[in-house]
């Protein structure tokens, strides 16, 4: 059975829907980093970080490439920052706005 367009969107959003993955992505905003830089910077246990990176790579949100022992990561699709920014706006939207919406009925 093939993946619906709803599932495709849900998979992308799900990959973004974790505080530590959001922190990782914002850390990568400055440029490519390896696991060994991200882990201490964000205080994440190595194997845990490795699995978060796997999720981000699988959803093609970041790309990775080997450089000797290290694996470097870089944002693959900068549109995710628009999604994160919008998510922040939705989270902070005021109750007032919603009262107005109710009054429109």
């Amino acid at each position: 059975m093939q993946t619906s367009r709803y599932e495709l969107k849900a998979n992308v959003l799900n990959a973004l829907a974790h505080p530590n993955r959001i922190r990782i992505l914002e850390y990568l905003k400055a440029g490519a980093k390896c696991n060994c830089e991200i882990a201490p910077a964000l205080d994440l246990e190595q194997s845990n970080l490795s699995r978060h990176m796997k999720i981000l790579v699988q959803e093609k949100i970041v790309v990775s490439w080997k450089d000797g022992l290290r694996v470097n990561y870089k944002i693959a699709d900068k549109q995710i920052f628009d999604i994160l920014s919008l998510a922040g706006k939705v989270a902070h939207a005021e109750a007032k706005t919603r009262v107005k919406i109710l009054e429109e009925q």
Copy 2:
């Protein structure tokens, strides 16, 4: 302990990160609907739909109000459609784009 801005964003994204909730939101795009209209239209079991709606209301993505026996729902923050649209674009972004990104290193 208070909720970080990362958690706030993750919570919004998490509420959006389910195929059925995305279907519900797109169905509500046309205007306010009650549970009793959504369930048959999207072929969702009543109690399951009720719990999905609870998640969307808790995250203030939709607003609800009673009308006799019925509970009506309406989109509270239309910015979520921008998020869903961007999620679709990210999901469909081509490998080519990512090859370019790698070549930039």
